[in-house]
């Protein structure tokens, strides 16, 4: 859960964050005003790109809501197998559009919070809700019984998220920072298997994060080429390298092997490829000058 940088972007685009605590608000405000002072105001017209990205993100959110509903229905019907099949796939819609999906500080932990995140926030286990709690039920407890209310709550929260994202103003910074942050997500939690500690479906999230970042690159590609054609070529190569590596772990049904099947050598190779993509990806901001 790394919504700090997105909040910066959102504050800059004057969306009011009712949810964040006062400390966060203070630090983010000073951060965003600092950005305004030291940076040149983007001159470049990115309206088409922003609209395209927003359409993509909303499309992902449409699917996320529809598929969450299916998942919740299967879960409440006690269909363990179907629930386990749907779980990693539904989450991919969320992970792909994380720059937007994560931007609502209060909803994100409710939908995507891991137990450690909840505990870190000083909350008790009883306050833990969302996908990862249902992941725990399905893989650790091998049951759905007793978790129906959590499933209901998840659907309610996803509906609320769906309503809120319709109003999001997509800024250039949100896109550019978002792409790097998607990779940082991979580097810090997916590559360590810390995202899906019960289902070990981390590679689905991994793939979706990469797809989300690649989408942003695709949308901005022409603008990047105008500024630095070599950067565009490098990025294309590095995305291909990561995708080729991930393809090695695809299963016959189009899914991914369990994260626990990866050796340390495998994860190091993946982490390296992601880092080598991240470094040039962080240069996409050149299009704002």
């Amino acid at each position: 859960m790394k919504y700090k940088s997105f909040m910066t972007a959102l504050l800059a685009s004057s969306i009011i964050m009712g949810a964040c605590n006062s400390t966060d608000e203070a630090s983010n405000t000073s951060e965003s005003s600092k950005v305004e002072e030291t940076s040149t105001i983007p001159q470049v017209d990115l309206q088409t790109e922003l609209d395209t990205y927003k359409a993509f993100a909303l499309e992902q959110m449409d699917s996320f809501l529809i598929e969450t509903e299916k998942f919740v229905n299967a879960f409440k019907a006690g269909d363990l197998e179907q629930s386990k099949t749907l779980y990693p796939l539904v989450r991919m819609y969320f992970e792909r559009s994380e720059p937007i999906a994560e931007s609502f500080g209060d909803l994100d932990p409710r939908i995507d919070g891991r137990l450690v995140d909840i505990q870190e926030a000083g909350k008790g286990e009883e306050e833990w809700t969302g996908y990862h709690k249902l992941e725990y039920a399905l893989w650790e407890e091998n049951t759905t019984v007793g978790y129906e209310a959590i499933a209901d709550q998840l659907l309610t929260d996803v509906k609320e998220l769906y309503a809120l994202v319709q109003t999001v103003e997509v800024t250039p910074d949100l896109m550019i920072t978002g792409a790097v942050d998607l990779l940082n997500e991979v580097s810090t939690s997916k590559i360590s298997g810390e995202e899906e500690i019960y289902s070990h479906t981390d590679l689905y999230d991994f793939k979706a994060n990469i797809e989300g970042a690649e989408k942003i690159f695709d949308i901005l590609r022409a603008k990047i080429e105008d500024k630095d054609a070599a950067l565009a070529t490098t990025l294309e190569e590095k995305f291909t390298a990561v995708n080729d590596l991930l393809a090695k772990y695809e299963t016959a049904d189009g899914g991914y092997v369990s994260f626990v099947d990866l050796t340390e050598e495998n994860t190091k190779e993946l982490a390296t490829a992601v880092n080598q993509l991240g470094e040039p990806l962080s240069q996409m901001g050149i299009i704002l000058e």
Binding site: T38, T40, D228, L231, Q276, P280, Q283, I286, L288, E289
Partner: protein, 411 residues
Amino acid sequence: MSKKITRREMLKLTGMTAAGVAIGASGFGGVAKALGYNLMPVDDNLLAANKVMFYGKHQSGIATPVQKHVYFASLEVLASTKEELQDLFKLWTPLSVRLMNGEDIGDSTTNAYVPPTDTGETNGLDASNLSLTFGVGPSLFEKKELGLAHLKPSELKELPHFPKDQLDEAFCGGDLCIQACADDPQVAFHAVRNLIRQASGKVLLKWTQTGFNALPANGGTPRNLFSFKDGTVNPSTPTDFDRTVWVDSGKSWMTNGTYLIVRRIQMHLETWDRTSLKDQEAAFGRHRDSGAPIGKTNEFDEVDLTAVDKNNKLLIPEDSHVFLAKKANKTILRRAFSYSSGIVSATGAYDAGLLFISFQKDPKSFIDIQNSLGRLDRLNEYITHRGSAIFACFPGVAKGSYIGEALFTTL
């Protein structure tokens, strides 16, 4: 921080207004790419404080008086062509000069939407006598795609297995090395960090090791973690260096270069610390406090392997470190650092010891000494060699040239 190239100077220099876009666009790396490296007027800044010269007949960090800290990095090369590798050294050359001037590696960007060009952790610090030493390992020449196999010097071979070696792959080998030494640990680290970052996609860190030296204020020989002076018999005059360190002319691209050997030697401090002073000195063959050979009073007194006491017993025991090393009759330049890297998880013992680094014109000198120490060296009871690598360090860089040019231009 000394003066950097301003945007205006750069434009003037190149006469290319279009370069303005590139400069603003991607900082220094972009400039270097857009303009070519020869145009980068980066020179040693003679006014910089605590500055080691980058350009010269030999690389820095070899004959340079040893600094307090080292960040040693062994790298794996990902570059897939000779030209790509050559470009990397061309890129690293002006960056290294800037780093050794105590400057940022690039002009600061005004675009707050991209990360800063320099990682910035040395802001407010001077050059701190930073030296950078680059070398290539035997494995580099085995990469077929680079087409360098025929240029591999016959001296550059993986070291043989020595008695009692317990090598851990995690601290062995490497295609390239960067030895960054400085009197400030953050300056040394910053240099490697930024060189690696600018080389993203072309190299990977294979292993790294930090080390430190406690340099006495009066300039004496530093002590290792066994409290003995380390480096007493080092070459000191230019003639010594020519005899011991620098590769002779006629040796192709290695002329004026040298071979670097690095060994990560764990010292078993716990057992050492319960060894009597007499036995400690007998293991080394020197007196601990003065550093003098046993039976002598001054550190630099001649080591006499035949000296005997009144019972006609050798003063310097035959199985002592000094006796065996001296017997090999070879000289090397020792430029070692101590290290401390947490604990050995299996035993809870200190993972501390010596990051032994030596320079010699022929690795055979080191090999002969190490073989002489062999199974006999009494110090072996207290040390274990855990890491090992050898690198051929390029000759120095002339102004207008770049690191390793001789290798790349030799047919």
